[in-house]
Symmetry: C2
Subunit: 190 residues, 2 copies
């Protein structure tokens, strides 16, 4: 049996996450196997299981960071100075789609995946992000909006990201369409 690694080369959670993140971003959850990750890390695939219970947990550590980033972006938009509420409203929608399309493979898992294993790790990440979103929309809207309408608005954004993720379109390729889609949805809100 080849000997185990020496201390200097010892595997760390962070090292695994760094490699796994790149691979997942590039090819998505299903396409990346533990063995592929291990190969890049130059370790056996079994070693990864010492640091993470399973593939889903490893992925969750990455996804969790993305939810925080999404929430942060939303907050930044709310707190931005020198722009009107109307503009903020637009920016929230616009940036949500931008986030989704620039993190396509992660978005898929954050809001789309059916895999029960992964879903159980996601826990309330999607729920929290949506709550923050809904509060922001309610606060920034010129007139009272129904909860259901905010939900429909969100679903409308979700559909956009979902569709263009399927076709692996970049945000830049559809930037204009993003704008008109956001305007379309805002028309329904008022």
């Amino acid at each position: 049996m080849t000997p185990r690694k020496s201390a200097q080369d010892e595997l760390t959670k962070d090292a695994i996450i760094d490699v796994a993140r790149d691979l997942f971003v590039a090819e998505g959850y299903d396409s990346i196997s533990m063995r592929k990750i291990a190969k890049v890390l130059q370790c056996s695939h079994g070693a990864i299981y010492y640091h993470f219970k399973n593939k889903a947990e490893l992925f969750y550590e990455i996804i969790n960071h993305d939810f925080q980033q999404l929430n942060q972006e939303l907050e930044d938009t709310i707190n931005e100075n020198q722009i009107s509420n109307e503009e903020k409203l637009f920016l929230i929608l616009y940036r949500f789609i931008k986030f989704g399309l620039t993190h396509q493979n992660h978005y898929e898992v954050m809001f789309l995946i059916k895999d029960d294993e992964v879903k159980s790790y996601l826990a309330n990440g999607p729920y929290v992000s949506y709550q923050r979103f809904a509060e922001a929309i309610a606060k920034l809207s010129p007139k009272q909006v129904h909860m259901k309408d905010i939900w429909s608005l969100f679903i409308g954004l979700h559909g956009f990201v979902t569709h263009y993720s399927r076709t692996e379109t970049t945000f830049e390729e559809v930037e204009d369409l993003v704008k008109s889609h956001c305007q379309f949805l805002l028309k329904a809100l008022s």
Copy 2:
């Protein structure tokens, strides 16, 4: 080696499709293996490959039928008597979502799947269905609508189906929400 089947038990494309359809509907594309299909058919998994080039092609034969059904439903709605254009417009949206949520696993493949193998077989099925949809919306709208808005409308429906497919919600469970979502989208159109 056990002998091959006798003529009366011979495998047919239709027999495979019938079994595969039920299994795919119940558990989705990924969860159903060729071996599971073969087990129900009481044949070897290799035999299926004599009738279908691969799993994707088998699934496509099923999906293709679904596109035709979706297109038929749309046409039926257009040709329905004794209802106004406004009501037809609503019904088209409503029934699209209904279709999506009552064929969740198929919808996923029809409009959502990333699997390149399957996508290549889908060919222009989604495209054709969308064209028919867009034409119907344009015709039934009281005033001129932009192409982009029809697209946004569709994306809005797509998002709804996609989200509730992920959570495996039945159409009946969200029937009221479907109505309000359709109304929301129609508000944006006018």
